[in-house]
Amino acid sequence: MSAPEEVANTGLASATALRRFAPLLLLAAVLAVLCVLGFELRPYHRELAIVFFINVIMVTSYRLITTTGDWSFAHVVLMGAGSYGAALIAKHAGLPFGVVVPMAGITAAIVGAAFIIPLLRTAGFGFFIASFAMGELVRLIWVKVQFPFGGTRGIINIPSPEIVGLRLSPPVPFYFTCFIVMLAAVFIMWRLDRSRIGNAWKSIHSDDLLAECVGIDVARYRSLAFITGAFFAGIAGALLAYRMGSIDPRNFDLTTMIYLIIWVVVGGTTTFWGPIVGLVVVTIAFEWSRPLLEWRPLMFGGVLIFFLIFLPGGLESLFPKVGNALRTPPGQQFQRLRTWFTTFASRT
């Protein structure tokens, strides 16, 4: 082998290695930055980051349910089940943070299990609106029942989080607490997504009859996805309850649910990371739009419509296109842009 060839080969090898490890490096870099930010951020932005972490758990767990093809409209209420569970357990049983958070997850999972019984009878659109109605039922119970849910005023004076005598409530420890819980939750859901169970979920989305015929118990796996998703929504709810110190039914209303859907639609649900990308982008846009507070739902309503009509795959569907664009010479790119534009023009 001549020298130049050898050089070319090692170049190729390092390129594939780079491609292989690039995502890992990127992930490590993001995590490192988030660790540093935990100390460096201004209080307002740190609060924002904490909410962001909670929302990451929400979108990831929501996406977990959608892998079976079921779009739920009750996810925020299941988060609320976690919040109420956490608040009540922490307040009345006086249990520590480390026990309360998983118990909140279990509370939400139990509520989710109750939901899924009628919901299994529905699919697609019916699932969507039936889950909405079921969620409203639970929310109305919170509004209505004074003991123990506190009615419209909700639950106040939730004890601050503590673990083996360590107070987690100051901003910096709480930032890292949420950060770690988020990492653990996302990691577990990522493992599930990659597992045989995750594949069974996706196969149901792809062709439920075929899945059933090759031995996958569709009802069981749909339930499993819904209940697992509810569990993690409950964990997110527990963190929210601790952060706010008080919760009430309005925290879990329809508007919040629609925002969750906007995050997921903007990001896309085909890939594991899509919803998180959507959350990041919408959160940034949300902050920028602070001066236009009252117009905000209108803007995001428009964003939702725009994405569903013009980019139904979400931002993630652009990733391969961006990757291709970087690899193709500019002349071809121009050509491609022109064909895209003409087809786009003819469609509208």
Partner: protein, 289 residues
């Protein structure tokens, strides 16, 4: 429950059933044709109420005229939603449905920005006084809801069963491909279905404007009830929607009288969950082959 309360409650049940039927019938109709599901249906109701607020309370038109004008105005909203949202997303009904959640946001903000978010708009009651039915009394304003809703539903029925265009709409709902083979233009039928859905929701909102408090967010409660009614009735079945509206209207009113509004809503949703378990296709829905 004494006789007076009983009569009172029965009358209120009929009023509630009428409104439920008006709201749900449009939703079922649009779902039947090309599976359009409109999350902003409650906001159409809200727009109908604002029409009366503007035309009657602000402009000073007579109340009946304001109500009648609300019908085509909201029908226009239905047409626009069909053209801008449902037609581009026809291949994916879930996407169309979620997009209308965005539309709901937009209509709420617009109503809030134009007429103010804060307090509910108060509309002077056009028909004062009350009718005596036995020993019970019921306000005229409530009572007129019944004939108006009946008239609208009868007109709709007449249109669907006696007019060629209406029959074509039903044909399209039953088998769009075969309807196209008869020369029926499915695009027109979907537009028509959405216009009718808007019209009936608009009328319901207009009739409720003097009774209900008019706010940009009044659609929320309406859409929940409408969905429950449509699911119980069997999604695409108009007759099912009306039957379910009557059942749920009575349940809601009676439970409200005995306990309160919130519990009544809960019972309604519970009834839906029960229906799904016992009879997933709904009361009059057809079983999937």
């Amino acid at each position: 429950m004494d006789t007076v309360t009983l009569i009172q409650t029965l009358l209120n049940s009929v009023v509630a059933s009428s409104i439920y039927a008006l709201v749900a019938v449009g939703l079922a109709l649009a779902f039947g044709v090309m599976k359009m599901a409109n999350f902003a249906h409650g906001e159409f109701f809200m727009v109908g109420a604002y029409c009366v607020y503007v035309l009657y309370a602000l402009v000073g038109l007579p109340f009946p005229l304001a109500v009648i004008l609300a019908i085509p105005i909201v029908a226009l909203f239905g047409l626009v939603a069909e053209r801008l949202i449902f037609r581009p997303t026809r291949k994916n009904i879930l996407a169309g449905f979620m997009a209308t959640a965005g539309l709901a946001f937009i209509l709420q903000v617009l109503a809030g920005q134009i007429w103010g978010v804060g307090i509910a708009k108060s509309i002077p009651t056009p028909y004062m006084g009350a009718a005596d039915v036995g020993d019970a009394t019921i306000g005229w304003q409530r009572l007129i809801v019944i004939p108006c809703a009946f008239a609208m539903l009868l007109a709709l029925r007449f249109f669907l069963y006696r007019v060629k265009l209406g029959k074509a709409l039903r044909a399209c709902a039953q088998d769009p491909e075969i309807a196209a083979l008869q020369g029926i233009r499915t695009n027109r039928m979907t537009a028509l279905a959405m216009a009718l859905a808007g019209a009936s929701a608009g009328l319901a909102g207009a009739l409720m404007a003097p009774i209900h408090s008019v706010t940009p967010y009044m659609g929320h409660g309406v859409i929940l009830i409408a969905f429950v009614v449509v699911i119980v009735g069997g999604m695409a079945s108009i007759e099912g929607a009306i039957l379910a509206a009557v059942i749920l209207g009575f349940i809601h009113t009676f439970v409200t009288t005995v306990t309160d509004n919130l519990i009544a809503t809960m019972v309604g949703v519970g009834f839906m969950a029960l229906t799904l378990i016992v009879r997933p296709q709904g009361l009059l829905g057809r079983e999937r082959a």
